[in-house]
């Protein structure tokens, strides 16, 4: 266990050195964080300039959702996002040919490809998202209770497990269909999580809750924060998350076997 923790610490260190090698990186990250924030807030602000509620959600509630959306994005960008991008994103290992070296390492492949790249600048995004959520909660006039916080953290854990599983699935697909950097698809679909899942028509809502659980990823933690989530939903979500995790890990193993059977 200590072996793995030591490796993670090392990976964080090397990623940090890489990021700070160029000063421009810092300014650019700052700029991107600001832009993400503006884009996130603008949509909701302009919308509620025209209407009072949407599908039963008020402005502060929608703001909470924006905060959770930004939080999930930031958490993803800290570790699993950059790591899996190195595997199967644009210009990833599989296309450029360095994946063999990853396979040769005496470290379980799933562990290696999931934690080897860190982007610590995302901590800034994380902080901002927490600020947004704080402001939203204040506007709701709701205090954060301990059970509420606990529920929120559980929902967040379920969320991130789902995010990791979906990203891993998509990254593994690259072994089968080498032309397309599929992690991009996730970025596109997660956009649908900026707004309450209820705004989508029935069939789409079902799709977004059970097939690509975007609804679980953002709406559920937001509702947990405002104390509106029934325990059954959380349990269902946890089951879904664990199921997806098992599926994704199995699919990665299958994809690795394929790679080793057919790489030329």
């Amino acid at each position: 266990m200590g072996y793995y923790l030591r490796l993670i610490r090392l990976f964080i260190g090397t990623s940090f050195q890489r990021e700070t090698a160029f000063r421009a990186n810092f300014a650019i990250s700052l700029l991107n964080t600001a832009l993400t924030l503006i884009a996130g807030l603008a949509g909701v602000t302009i919308l509620f300039g025209q209407v009072k509620t949407i599908q039963g959600w008020t402005f502060p509630q929608a703001l909470t959702l924006v905060g959770v959306y930004l939080l999930v994005g930031a958490l993803r960008d800290i570790c699993i996002g950059p790591s899996l991008e190195t595997l199967g994103g644009l210009g990833g290992e599989i296309f450029v040919g360095g994946f063999d070296f990853t396979l040769l390492k005496p470290v379980p492949t799933q562990f290696l490809v999931s934690v080897r790249n860190w982007r610590l600048w995302a901590l800034g995004d994380l902080t901002l998202s927490l600020v947004v959520m704080g402001v939203a909660l204040a506007r709701l006039g709701q205090a954060l209770t301990l059970p509420g916080l606990a529920l929120f953290l559980v929902a967040l854990l379920v969320s991130m497990t789902i995010v990791y599983s979906v990203l891993l699935l998509l990254a593994s697909c690259v072994f089968w269909y080498r032309g397309v950097p599929l992690t991009w698809i996730f970025d596109s679909l997660i956009q649908m999580g900026r707004y309450p899942v209820g705004i989508y028509p029935g069939w789409l809502r079902l799709l977004l809750t059970w097939v690509v659980p975007v609804g679980f990823i953002t709406s559920v933690p937001a509702q947990a924060l405002t104390g509106q989530v029934p325990a059954l939903t959380l349990v269902g979500g946890a089951a879904l998350a664990l199921g997806l995790l098992a599926l994704a890990s199995a699919f990665l193993r299958l994809s690795l076997r394929r790679y080793s059977s057919a790489s030329s």
Binding site: T14, L104, P106, V107, A262
Partner: protein, 334 residues
């Protein structure tokens, strides 16, 4: 002694999609994919003892890299058996992976944007190299490779040769028992190639690590590998001493001479007066290249020295590239 690498009846078959040119074929391929089976490695059998340096040679696409990948566990064999150091490579057990290492000529494992020493440190941790041993091994390799202070630089700022040296350190940090080198001298300048060969030979001598090398440069193979395995179209054509191969394939020698000034018979006269068969391969003013049978080389040379006013004369083995090229074209027979 028990062999370190044992390969028996190894086969690898690829399924390659067939696609023709043209729009019609492209549309058809959307619905009906046709595949072709390519036999990349065809029942190869050989063993390697610990500490040997073996060169794999063969034309492009012969199956050398495929074989190497099967030995390192990157590729699953279609059939046959492979055992490296007692392990089955495709199982990819961590204990096996810690004993081997691979260097690929056109690919880097070192992170582009981290200093070399940082990458080395991470590798030491990944392979579980104890701290003090890490320092010793690293320093030893740095000295052997004459790297100096490159360790504090980043691969993006290094030249190709410098990068390859750092790649070698990275590969040898955990003291593997088996080292796979896949075209390691690709793209390097002559000096660097020379230094690299010297390093590999010295490293093998000191550590007794087994080295499997593939290369297109015959100079690598000639200077490093007492034993070669020749693979052509997936089949193992020859396994043994390169010199023996040359003698077997091309049992002749080349005599290069330059005729000086002075009277006496012309070269044509002398040659036509010889009992042994001689072929003139090249002729450039007063310089000639003759091909004679190996056994005839001495007597013919003596006659030429005697009868002609020579400015220069050398007796050579045919260039190994020509021999190998002949093997690729005609196979190994007799």
């Amino acid at each position: 002694m028990k062999p370190q690498i044992a390969v028996s009846d190894l086969c690898k078959v690829y399924r390659v999609p067939e696609r023709e040119a043209g729009l019609g074929a492209a549309v058809r391929s959307l619905f009906h994919r046709r595949y072709r089976d390519v036999l990349a490695v065809d029942h190869i059998t050989f063993t390697v003892q610990p500490g040997e340096i073996v060169g794999f040679i063969g034309p492009n696409g012969a199956g050398k890299t495929t074989t190497l990948k099967m030995l390192s566990g990157l590729l699953y064999p279609t059939s046959g058996e492979v055992r490296v150091d007692g392990f089955v490579p495709s199982e990819r057990q961590p204990a096996f992976l810690r004993r081997i290492s691979m260097v690929m000529g056109n690919r880097n494992q070192l992170a582009w944007d981290n200093t070399v020493s940082d990458s080395l440190y991470v590798l030491a941790e990944i392979y579980g190299v104890p701290r003090d041993e890490f320092g010793r091994t690293r320093d030893e390799l740095v000295e052997l490779l004459e790297i100096g202070d490159l360790l504090s630089k980043m691969p993006r700022d290094l030249s190709l040769g410098e990068r390859m040296k750092c790649e070698l350190i990275a590969a040898l940090l955990h003291r593997p028992r088996v080292l796979f080198l896949d075209e390691p001298t690709l793209g390097l300048d002559v000096t660097m190639q020379f230094r690299l060969r010297r390093f590999v030979a010295e490293y093998n001598r000191r550590s007794q690590a087994t080295v499997i090398l593939t290369s297109h440069y015959m100079a690598d193979v000639v200077s490093l590998c007492p034993r070669v395995v020749l693979i052509h179209q997936g089949r193992l054509l020859f396994d043994g001493d390169l010199v023996r191969l040359a003698e077997q394939m091309a049992p002749f020698k080349l005599i290069r001479l330059a005729v000086g000034n002075g009277g006496g018979p012309t070269i044509q006269n002398v040659l036509s007066g010889l009992a042994q068969p001689v072929t003139i391969i090249e002729q450039n003013e007063r310089r000639y290249t003759l091909r004679v049978k190996r056994t005839d080389a001495s007597p013919i040379t003596a006659r030429l020295l005697n009868d002609l006013p020579l400015a220069d004369i050398t007796v050579e083995d045919p260039p190994i590239e020509a021999v190998i090229d002949q093997v690729y074209r005609e196979g190994v027979n007799g």
